[in-house]
Symmetry: C2
Subunit: 400 residues, 2 copies
């Protein structure tokens, strides 16, 4: 099976081709809303492809539905189908050669962002009010930014990943998208544990993340940072990574690669699956990580996490461009994509390494493409962050 | 009465001239240590001069002893006398024309720093192990830095000021000095409320306070900041005052001046006391503050305090040079002193406005004079800060 057997509509859709998986809904606070789920969440009776035909072929059809999917359905949201993912969730552009790369409806001709590309595309097109994704190193935040919608990477561990496929478990989180801030928040009420509300502040602009952003992206997002200041008081500026963002990328890459290979290496070795461009190379890099580098990455992560918890424990909010760059064009080479990836992960690794919740707000456009502003807070403050995102959306006259 | 009637030894001493006030001691954890108290703390049966003969003349000899003085005596420290203060605690150089300006034994020819000048001088000379001072806008921290000893401004409200004279009550704190870090901490155990221990971090270097410091001062203190990094992990850098340090000075000056006049204006108006150079002018500035400026200062303070609490609530530690400059020479003109004062208060107002505990550590010398490194944390974390100061002193091979 490959994308060339599909219709143009199937190739460009955020949803998986073929018959839609089905699931019963309850009645509750999400009545009247629809939702989709990235095809790494199990829905009983439907195959979970994890974005790769060989994965689907070598794994049984699940008998149980993932906990997060059930939580949305039980809260009253109506399930409308499974959405495309980058193969094994290991990629940032949002490409899938087997099922088709979903359209980025807010920037046609550019990638939708990955790995939760189908979920972002479906929400941006209005085909689902809520879509579950997963975020290991940016897989919700980047497609949210590229597609001009809201997205949250929750506190690590806050939302169940039972019944979801793993990539690097100590980084994996169950995130979600919505086109409206209030819907993002309401989905959180069904998915998140109780607590974490209450006032946030002060606002901290992370200097190196602003400096690392393309000047057009940073300039486009400055007014949104100003609106945050009206809500939280004048921003302080902070530097989080005295070692520089490349050190963050290196630490993330090493520790995450070690875990990704530990999680999926046996299957890859046993199956020799066919992969699209870049995916196999990324796993090969993970496999060939020199001994000791994973441990060095984990040690860095411990120190970084401790620093961030101390910084944010009083309620402080970090803010910076979700992605330093707008989505690359579909023609971008693998080498160009790698450069984008390295520069992007230097920033997305902040919450990835520290386990912080992060909400991306579709605050602006640069060169005609969407760019998101991220707000982050201490672990467990997801609900407060979602409330702040809603207030900021109102201030910016976005879809609340 | 004026200093010219005194012997040279009396003029240069940190202690008040004349017979030493006496007080009984108990037995406890401070057994074997001596202490002194700035002459704005009452000791039953001895006059409280508040640094000014007209104050002494117009106020009765107190019948009760200040709570903080009693606390040290009851913990076993032996009281050795009252120490000189700047008149009405309103001045930073540490001058007193009536009782003599105490010697700065670590930088003879330079001011000891004020207003707790006598306490700092006595401790630096080894004439008391502990000396109580008070700190409204820097009156413990600055003489600690100038005289090369340890000093703490505790969390606002944490140590009783009952039986102590007020200058600006919402800024006034009861601080103390010691030449050894362990003695500073042990005095805290007798004076501070329970609690506040536990780990601190991350370390935040306050960019504008380092930039505001004389380059020689900043360079001299960098190794001490490095030693703090070995204890707490790599420092992050933060900017606390997007409006710039002069805005902090202005806010402090306005709100503090309004309070100082509200506290002492009636007595000054009724008594027309004789004041030494600068003191009367500072009170006249307070009296003549245009209406509305005090309120603007207080509003700024509210926002600043909220920002700092959010930043430090998770355990973060701020660090920067206690004073941007070494002590000025005794020949410095009033105009030169005013310039020093403005630049210094731009930094000392950080804890003053936000009510934070701050410990100054005699970490280095610049141009042959002592300079202190300050560490600050969230309100209530005084005990943790004193423990950290002791660890840093050990790392720097200072007197622990």
């Amino acid at each position: 099976m490959a994308a060339e057997g599909l219709t143009e509509a199937e190739r460009l859709s955020g949803f998986m081709p073929g018959p839609r998986a089905a699931l019963a809904s309850g009645t509750g606070p999400l009545d009247g809303l629809t939702f989709a789920a990235k095809d790494l969440y199990d829905v009983a009776g439907a195959p979970t492809t994890y974005g790769n035909p060989d994965w689907a072929r070598t794994h049984p059809v699940p008998a149980a539905t993932a906990t997060a999917v059930l939580a949305l359905a039980e809260a009253g949201a109506r399930f409308v189908g499974k959405t495309k993912t980058v193969e094994l969730a290991f990629g940032m552009a949002g490409e899938n050669i087997w099922y088709g790369t979903p359209l980025n409806p807010r920037a046609p001709g550019r990638f939708p962002g990955g790995s939760s590309c189908g979920s972002a595309s479906a929400v941006a097109l209005g085909e689902a009010d809520i879509a579950l994704g997963s975020d290991t190193g940016g897989s919700v935040r980047i497609p949210a930014s590229y597609c001009g919608i809201f997205g949250i990477r929750p506190t690590w561990g806050a939302v169940s990943l039972v019944g979801a496929r793993a990539l690097a478990p100590s980084y994996d989180t169950a995130g979600w998208f919505a086109a409206r801030a209030s819907v993002l928040r309401r989905a959180g009420e069904a998915l998140l544990p109780e607590g974490g509300e209450g006032p946030l502040g002060p606002l901290l602009l992370v200097g190196e993340a602003w400096d690392n952003a393309d000047p057009a992206v940073a300039a486009a997002l400055r007014p949104a940072a100003g609106a945050l200041e009206s809500l939280l008081g004048p921003a302080l500026s902070v530097s989080l990574v005295p070692e520089g963002l490349p050190a963050l990328y290196e630490a993330y890459r090493r520790a995450q690669a070690e875990e990704a290979w530990a999680t999926l290496g046996d299957w890859i070795t046993a199956t020799s699956p066919a992969f699209g461009p870049g995916v196999g190379e990324r796993f090969a890099m993970s496999r060939d990580l020199p001994p000791g580098l994973g441990a060095a990455g984990r040690a860095f992560r411990q120190g970084f996490r401790r620093r961030l918890l101390g910084l944010l424990g009083g309620g402080a909010v970090l803010a910076y461009p979700t992605s330093p760059l707008i989505s690359p064009p579909l023609e971008a080479s693998q080498a160009e994509q790698l450069r984008v990836r390295e520069r992007t992960i230097g920033v997305t690794a902040i919450s990835g390494l520290a386990g912080l919740p992060e909400v991306s707000i579709p605050a602006a456009q640069a060169e005609g493409a969407p760019v998101g502003l991220s707000i982050l807070a201490a672990p467990g403050r997801d609900r407060a962050l979602l409330a702040l995102a809603e207030r900021l959306a109102a201030a910016l006259e976005l879809s609340t």
